[in-house]
């Protein structure tokens, strides 16, 4: 008797063994469990920040400088201002350098050996631990100036911003269709003008995304500021003087033995995270509107 030929349709009715179905179920449950287990700390961190932080944020916290250890009251006004100050210094150096390097990679260095070298170096720089960047800024700025300073902190953060901005700028510029550039050349527009007024402009929202991501990344950095900006219990607006920063203040207060300072650390952390989540959220909003203006 000839053997029956099995057609795919026959398999469709064949029951999947209990073992295979059971394993499928177990894995699905495990995956959902993993998601819940990962969301748990996220919820816990945000929950505690809001719960512990809100109670300690008040007018004094936002407008006063720290009181001596153990004394109630006082605030982090100088640290908030110091963070903004250091971030402004960092952005003023890191953003132009990063965008410029991104323009080089996409407009001039495409496919060249030197371009690949720069791209590779940027990726390497991205993986350098932030504490190492602190050591280098210490060697470059603090040692030559003779003391800790806002400038040193700014240099350290600028170094950390550059690779992120470079790579996103490059990616965004590469998305701009070649035809757009050719249209400009065809009208007799010079190359630099095309790059700035046509290509970069088309990719503006994408480039801003990269800048904001870099900003959010360094805004909460603490390690590179430990021995560059160093921290300060008082106001400071001089580039060459030690300056307070929100992240440094949170660290100092968190490891201190005073309850009053612990409360303020939570309040400072809440303000820091609001700042960061707001900028990441803004990025999502910009990104969802499309990376490119006009094109696509």
């Amino acid at each position: 008797m000839p053997e029956k030929v099995m057609l795919p349709a026959d398999f469709a009715d064949a029951p999947i063994s209990l073992w295979r179905r059971g394993l499928n179920f177990v894995v699905s449950v495990a995956a959902i469990g993993a998601v819940l287990l990962v969301l748990l700390p996220l919820g816990a961190v945000f929950g505690y920040l809001v719960y512990k932080g809100i109670g300690s944020i008040n007018w004094a916290f936002l407008t006063q400088i720290p009181k001596p250890p153990g004394e109630a009251g006082g605030g982090m006004a100088n640290a908030i201002a110091g963070s903004v100050y250091i971030l402004l210094i960092a952005s003023s150096m890191g953003v132009p350098l990063g965008i410029g390097a991104g323009i080089y990679l996409s407009e001039y260095g495409r496919g060249t050996g030197f371009g690949n070298l720069i791209r590779f170096t940027a990726d390497v720089l991205n993986g350098v631990p932030s504490i190492i960047v602190g050591i280098v800024a210490y060697g470059l700025v603090v040692l030559s100036q003779g003391h800790f300073s806002a400038l040193a902190g700014g240099v350290a953060l600028a170094i950390m911003m550059v690779p992120t901005i470079t790579r996103t700028t490059e990616e965004m510029l590469l998305l701009v269709p070649q035809a757009v550039r050719e249209a400009a050349y065809g009208l007799g527009v010079s190359r630099w003008r095309t790059t700035l007024s046509i290509t970069l402009r088309t990719a503006t929202s994408g480039v801003i995304t990269g800048v904001m991501l870099a900003f959010a990344r360094v805004a909460g950095e603490t390690a590179p500021l430990l021995f560059t900006a160093f921290g300060n219990q008082y106001w400071n607006w001089k580039m060459n003087q030690p300056t307070a920063a929100l992240s440094l203040q949170i660290f100092t207060y968190a490891i201190s033995p005073f309850d009053e300072w612990h409360k303020q650390a939570w309040a400072g952390a809440l303000i820091l995270i609001v700042l960061i989540v707001a900028s990441v959220g803004a990025v999502r909003l910009v990104a969802s509107r499309g990376m490119l203006k006009g094109a696509n």
Partner: protein, 315 residues
């Protein structure tokens, strides 16, 4: 459009612009060269004093100017490996759920939420760990581990809460988003036909994921894991706040330890004496070299899977 064309002597401006951009590109290279230069020159004193033995001595005594980095190397490796043991299954589970199982409407929200974990600064994780995680460990997890797994020798001694275990757990929370976002990326790069083909052969969904997706993406997933390792090795603040900062080598995970990054964070600004500072920079140099190698390997592995698929924004 006239203003665009008329503006300036275009050839000279073009050349100037080109050089300005190439200077920006060069600055990236210059930064890395500077980092290497600073680390190498500033650590030479310690290198000449101790040589290779620096990494095998466990004595760290600033008073007598004797330095050995073994406890820090040990602490860095153990805390990072502990973090990976906890984080890798979770991260892959999350990636599998998001790419293969979750309903479409949930996908974006979940991806965004896990990436939010990566946006939280290290110092805030540290703050949370000191006041929430450590007390939980001390009261619940550590007594339980000591009771049931104490015989392994890994969970012995007084449950301080603070120590290697706390550092490993907080590091795990911090590297999960990195590993899962890379895993997601490489799983998405696996062609859809691959999935359909395996399903058409009668596989269950898990069998499809295992044979059709994970097997094809394994090099990239490995890359993601190694990238997470790179992050864990260099992570400073959160670890410094909970690991206990004692340069000792203990078998028990309950005991306090010290890592390479946290010794620099704690002692650098107070280091008096050239040899002391030089020894700290040498620890930094070693950390730098290791993280660079780890990152390059990781990027190569991810690239082997995702090459050929169009570049995607990481935003």
């Amino acid at each position: 459009m006239q203003w665009l064309i008329k503006a300036g002597d275009s050839r000279r401006a073009d050349t100037a612009f080109f050089y300005a951009m190439i200077a920006c590109g060069l600055s990236v290279l210059a930064i890395v060269v500077l980092i290497v230069y600073e680390l190498v020159t500033k650590s030479s004193l310690s290198w000449h004093a101790f040589g290779w033995k620096f990494f095998f001595r466990s004595e760290w005594d600033p008073v007598n100017d004797q330095y050995g980095a073994l406890p820090f190397v040990y602490g860095t490796i153990v805390s990072s490996i502990l973090a990976l043991i906890i984080a890798v299954p979770l991260a892959i589970g999350v990636a599998v759920y998001i790419t293969e199982m979750s309903p479409r409407w949930l996908r974006g929200a979940l991806a965004f939420t896990t990436e939010l974990l990566a946006a939280i600064p290290s110092v805030i994780y540290g703050l949370w760990a000191i006041f929430v995680l450590v007390p939980l460990l001390r009261q619940y997890l550590q007594p339980w581990l000591a009771k049931y797994l104490g015989w392994t020798g890994l969970f012995e001694g007084p449950p301080y809460g603070i120590g290697m275990l706390a550092a490993g757990i907080i590091l795990a929370i911090m590297v999960v988003p990195i590993i899962s976002s890379i895993t997601r990326e490489v799983m998405t790069a696996v062609p859809q036909q691959q999935r359909e083909g395996v399903l058409a052969l009668g596989a269950t969904r898990w069998e499809m994921i295992r044979t059709g997706v994970l097997r094809n993406a394994r090099a990239g997933i490995m890359g993601g894991v190694i990238l997470g390792l790179g992050r864990a090795l260099g992570e400073t603040m959160a670890v410094t706040m909970v690991i206990g900062n004692r340069p000792e080598i203990a078998k028990s995970l309950f005991a306090p330890g010290y890592t390479m990054a946290s010794v620099i964070a704690n002692e650098f600004s107070e280091a008096t004496g050239d040899l002391y500072l030089s020894a700290l920079v040498e620890v930094g140099l070693a950390l730098f070299i290791v993280t660079i190698i780890v990152n390059i390997v990781a990027q190569f592995l991810v690239w082997t899977v995702t090459r050929g698929t169009p570049a995607r924004s990481h935003a």
